[in-house]
């Protein structure tokens, strides 16, 4: 029986690092070793064309998949238009466009097959 208190409890966003599944990140690092040199400066977030639609940013995507939050990352990635601005501004010289494509390739495509 639900009672209305005028406010709701948020589900906890705490992560248990021992339990999360980072296989996607590990796979990505194997394909794109450059994923590890990202210093999360946020240049990609600032320039992203898709960020106004899905909050897309390579920095956040990397952070999310490191924490096993694949679904959140996928929602962002879905609006990427591969325009390449993030690649041009990356101070670490990461080929973010190729990183995004590789990530899209290795995503478990159960959802897509539905």
């Amino acid at each position: 029986m639900a009672m209305n208190f005028g406010f709701k409890l948020c589900p906890s966003s705490a992560l248990n690092l021992d339990k999360i599944d980072t296989s996607l990140y590990d796979k990505l690092v194997e394909m794109e070793p450059d994923a590890r040199i990202c210093m999360a400066c946020g240049s990609c977030s600032a320039t992203c064309t898709a960020s106004q639609f899905s909050g897309m940013s390579v920095r956040k995507v990397l952070l999310d998949i490191q924490r096993g939050k694949e679904k959140e990352a996928a929602a962002m990635l879905r609006n990427c238009m591969l325009c390449g601005k993030c690649t041009m501004v990356c101070p670490r010289g990461i080929n973010t466009r190729h990183l995004i494509l590789s990530l899209c390739r290795i995503y478990d495509n159960k959802e897509e097959q539905k």
């Binding site: 996928a74 990635l77 879905r78 591969l82």
Partner: protein, 611 residues
């Protein structure tokens, strides 16, 4: 002329017959396979094209000019053109004349198939061969022509630079077998015809050879072995032909009608693309053309090697080469055959499967259009819609200059993506994802349609190309800013003044080769300063290295390409580099020792309002 051998047969023709039969069967098999790979519609289109006399005439003309005379090679380098056309046209004429000889003198032997090739072995000259003299002369003439070509080909192997080629293709083992057997065919033919010239007749080449041979050797024992050798050389060449670059000879004859029928590449490995790949003669013009070739390691990733790997089915290398390319289009612009390598590469990229596919259904057109144009948009003739594009937003100096120019000229305009818009879809298309690109295109079309403008003004050639080619914007004129500003100046809506700058103009790939705009920016710049040209310019301009076409080239690997392009631009010591593409501007600015500016910026500095 009479039959020398009553049976009309000698065992030495067997190798030739084997080789010829093999080639014909292989080509027939290949043709049927290609036809099966075409879609029903394309196949219909292909066969119907032969019924159209206009296309049929173009087919014949193109095959004659390109396959036999090699007109495009002549235009590139006279010596290279002479070498190829002397071999191709000379050989063709030897075959045609051989048939004519048989038809004229021994029409009954025409169905033996090998008579036209080995005519001189099977006949004996009699007293009534005055007509034969003409043939003998022509046969010797064309043989001499082919031999000239062969000598040049041998020289080219050592000194390719005199043929205008810095680098040539590294041949595979079978290519070498094919090459050497091709070289051997004609000297052997000369020897064989020389040994028999006192029986079958000959002309200025074969008769003297016959005197020498008989003076030194004195017997006829050499006759049959040389004819055997000639036949075997032909056999070897024809047996390896399907597996070597020489497959381009039959393949190009199929490619030309297919192209004239208007077929398009739909699959990277099937149908039209396959014919294209087999039509590659591995000449290696694309190696020097490729901007990536500044680094020697990259020469292995040029189009000629892509074609080779596709023929071999080496998946790993095909993917590597396809992904690395900048899609600048220079190789296909210079290609003698017209192989559309960028399209093959994009089609190859499109074969890849992704676990996560982009989807833009959450983006709605309405709010975006409202944000850009406000409520109650009125359609007004002459109103301009300015779309800066992603790359221009990254180089705001261009859009600022552009807005300033538009205001000075008093142009009424709306700014489509001032507060961020969508990408044009071309980067998605170049990554080989046409379905996703189509979604973006549809969204953008919706926004443009609701703007009420009838001119779409673009600052980025990447956008310009896709807006021109893939968008359905009937009634809306798509124009690049270099064209548009030129018109403003011509219509005296903007007055510009000449300055003391020495300007070199860099042709962006997508604007020049991609969309054929070379002149307008130059004419505009000529009014602003002294215009000088780069070393390689126009169709041969060198990509800045920043292209979005390459998926795998990293930041560090692009540095050499940009520096090489800069070196090419600054040979005539300009004080300023002008370009018309935000991506080129960004790449050049990184390494240039002199100012790099967009054409809009230069106009903005040197223009005033017309009162």
């Amino acid at each position: 002329m009479t039959d020398r051998i009553p049976a009309g047969f000698h065992p030495f023709v067997i190798p030739f017959l084997v080789g010829m039969g093999f080639v014909l069967l292989y080509c027939l098999y290949g043709f049927i396979r290609i036809m099966c790979q075409l879609s029903h519609k394309d196949r219909r289109k292909f066969f119907l094209s032969f019924l159209n006399p206009k296309i049929l005439w173009k087919d014949i003309k193109d095959i004659f000019l390109n396959c036999l005379i090699h007109v495009k090679l002549w235009k590139r380098n006279k010596l290279l053109g002479f070498m190829h056309s002397s071999i191709a046209f000379g050989w063709f004429m030897l075959i045609v004349l051989g048939h004519l000889e048989v038809i004229c003198f021994l029409p009954g032997r025409l169905r033996t198939f090998y008579y036209p090739i080995f005519f001189n072995f099977f006949v004996a000259e009699d007293n009534a061969t005055i007509g034969g003299q003409v043939f003998f002369f022509l046969m010797d003439f064309f043989l001499a022509l082919v031999l000239c070509g062969i000598i040049l080909a041998i020289i080219k192997r050592v000194h390719s630079l005199i043929f205008g080629m810095r680098r040539t293709t590294r041949l595979s083992l079978l290519d070498r077998v094919g090459l050497y057997s091709l070289w051997a065919i004609f000297p052997l033919r000369l020897l064989a015809e020389g040994f028999t010239a006192h029986i079958s007749g000959g002309s200025f080449l074969t008769i003297p050879l016959n005197w020498i041979a008989r003076a030194f050797l004195g017997n006829e024992l050499n006759m049959v072995p040389t004819w055997w050798a000639y036949s075997i050389a032909l056999c070897v060449f024809m047996c390896v032909l399907p597996f070597t670059r020489y497959m381009h000879i039959p393949a190009e004859m199929l490619l030309i009608p297919m192209r004239n029928a208007g077929l398009k590449i739909k699959h990277a490995r099937k149908g039209y693309a396959k014919v294209m790949v087999y039509s590659c003669p591995s000449c290696g013009v694309c190696i020097d053309a490729c901007p990536m070739s500044v680094k020697k390691a990259n020469t292995r990733d040029t189009t000629v090697y892509l074609n080779r790997q596709i023929r071999r089915g080496n998946e790993k290398r095909i993917e590597e080469i396809s992904d690395k390319c900048l899609l600048c289009g220079k190789c296909s612009e210079l290609c003698q055959i017209g192989i559309e390598a960028p399209k093959i590469r994009i089609a190859q990229r499109a074969r890849r499967k992704y676990g996560l596919n982009q989807n833009y259904s959450n983006i709605s057109v309405g709010p975006l259009a409202e944000k850009a144009f406000g409520h109650n948009v009125e359609a007004k003739p002459g109103k301009v819609l300015y779309f800066a594009g992603c790359m221009t937003q990254l180089t705001p100096r261009i859009s600022q200059a552009m807005e300033s120019v538009l205001q000075k000229a008093g142009v009424e305009y709306s700014y489509m993506d001032k507060d961020g818009g969508l990408c044009c879809g071309r980067p998605m298309l170049m990554a080989g994802r046409p379905d996703q690109a189509r979604q973006i295109i549809d969204k953008n079309t919706g926004i443009i349609r609701s703007s009420g403008c009838d001119t779409l003004l673009l600052s980025c050639p990447i956008c310009y190309k896709i807006f021109k080619e893939k968008y359905h914007l009937e009634g809306i004129r798509v124009v690049h800013h270099s064209e548009f500003i030129k018109e403003l100046v011509d219509q005296r809506r903007l007055s510009v003044r000449f300055g003391k700058d020495v300007i070199v103009y860099h042709d962006p790939c997508e604007l020049g080769r991609g969309s054929g705009i070379y002149e307008q920016p130059r004419e505009l710049l000529a009014a602003l300063g002294t215009l000088v040209e780069a070393e390689k310019t126009g169709k041969e301009s060198i990509c800045c290295g920043g292209s979005l076409g390459s998926l795998t080239l990293g930041f560090a690997q692009r540095e050499d390409l940009t520096k090489n392009a800069l070196r090419n631009l600054t040979v005539n010591l300009p004080s300023k580099i002008a370009t018309a593409c935000p991506l080129c501007l960004a790449s050049f600015s990184r390494y240039s020792d002199r100012p790099v500016e967009d054409i809009a910026e230069i106009v903005d500095q040197r223009s005033t309002k017309v009162d």
